[in-house]
């Protein structure tokens, strides 16, 4: 670490960054940054790298980012094998360079999962998550005239539990960290958020079955209870949501199996 005249320390870093064009095989490219301030965020460090590439007349690295304050779910880098990097409970944008050592080599690659194909370099297509949400991650209400907020009482513990699940920012780190490329933590969080609230009851079973089906069709893997998703989730969503997703799914399947058609059977009795 270089300390000059009371200014903030800087790091000299070697970077191995993934370079890939859509539909083509990718490879790591090596770059060096001589003086990265320790107060810089990981994305600011990537900005420095891109500025250096622009000055040299080279192609920049594409990566997703938006709010840069840890709530939008856009940033998506696998840093040294860890989605969102080495500090549990933070997104890449909130990861600061003081967590790295001077002279360290950092490997930066995209989310690795079949359901998240690489668009370019570090940016992946996460529209599989959008499809899951479109298939059931909503409640149906008449819009245009907002209802009185306190019409439907929600007990405090239920509101808290729903809020815990709603913390999910849909970044996809669960899929990227899962050794099975499974999206169960994401789908579990989204289903729980709505399934435990009174407003979510009308579409509870339909939502659960539809979102699980969309998840399976999108090519995500299956949960085998490694627990890596919880350990890498920037919002620390727990495996509880997966247990509850399994419970709701079983319940919905049994109810569907024994649902009434409202008509007598054709057999003569």
């Amino acid at each position: 670490m270089v300390q000059d005249n009371g200014k903030e320390p800087t790091l000299a870093l070697k970077l191995r960054v993934w370079r890939q064009r859509r539909g083509q095989p990718g490879a790591f490219e090596e770059h060096a940054l001589p003086a990265v301030p320790t107060s810089a965020s990981f994305l600011e460090m990537m900005d420095m790298l891109n500025e250096q590439l622009i000055k040299a007349g080279k192609d920049t690295f594409a990566f997703d980012h938006d709010c840069r304050e840890g709530i939008c779910g856009m940033c998506s880098m696998t840093i040294n094998g860890m989605p969102h990097g080495p500090i549990p409970g933070v997104t890449t944008c909130q990861l600061h360079m003081r967590n790295f050592r001077d002279g360290e080599t950092i490997t930066v690659e995209p989310w690795r999962a079949r359901a998240f194909p690489v668009l370019k370099d570090l940016a992946v297509d996460r529209s599989a998550f959008d499809k899951v949400i479109q298939s059931g991650g909503f409640i149906t209400v008449r819009t245009g005239s907002a209802p009185e907020a306190n019409n439907i009482p929600v007990p405090k513990p239920i509101a808290d539990e729903a809020m815990d699940a709603a913390e999910c920012i849909g970044c996809g780190a669960c899929v990227a960290s899962c050794k099975n490329g499974s999206a169960m933590l994401f789908v579990g969080a989204k289903i729980n958020h709505l399934n435990i609230l009174p407003q979510g009851q009308a579409e509870r079973d339909r939502r659960t079955l539809a979102m699980v089906k969309t998840m399976d069709d999108a090519g995500f893997g299956n949960c085998t209870n490694y627990g890596e998703c919880q350990a890498h989730c920037p919002k620390s969503i727990t495996l509880d949501v997966i247990a509850k997703l399994n419970r709701d799914y079983l319940r919905a399947r049994v109810k569907e199996f024994f649902s009434s058609t409202g008509k007598p059977s054709k057999g003569g009795d």
Binding site: G81, G181, T224, Y226, T238
Partner: protein, 203 residues
Amino acid sequence: MALSGLVLAGFVLGHMSGNLLMFKGPKAINDYATWLHANPGLLWGARIVLILSTIAHIWAGILLTLENRAAREGGPSVDATRRASLSSRTMPYSGVVILAFLIFHLLHFTFRQIALGGVDFGDNVYKMVIAGFAQPAVAVFYIVSMILLCLHLSHGISSVFQTLGLRNERWRSRLDCVASLYAWLVALGFISIPLAVLSGYLK
């Protein structure tokens, strides 16, 4: 996976308990074997359930492993596992060894075709077991397989609760503990017999 696994996990505990009759002497274990064979309805009912569970378990395991490998596409270039246990990461491998053991075990003690030197033990199960484990290679393979069964059960049993939706953060560590205890109980129960034969305690 979970339901077939639950049936098989229940079976290994029952099988282990029956085996411990070896320590009560030749009469106890031989009478138990005779009693089982005198109730073909019970015996074949259990066998059919076990065969179907085994087939379902293997089929689901293969499907799960293939689908999951495809979904992962190799994963990141650096491995940075944070909490996945050894048992969870070795499930397909421990499963394959247990299957190989199962086939050997059936040929050995059920069909009595191999590793018994062509001796017909008839109804004397006690003698057959002593003769079977008197060969160190057989006993060691048995013991190693039971340790892998322990590994397999410790992840499998705690996973059953998760699959059925009967687990949360408060209960996770307690259920993992229950699963570990169950797995060790089964494995040590099974292992005690070849160890007793090898050490000369049972003869």
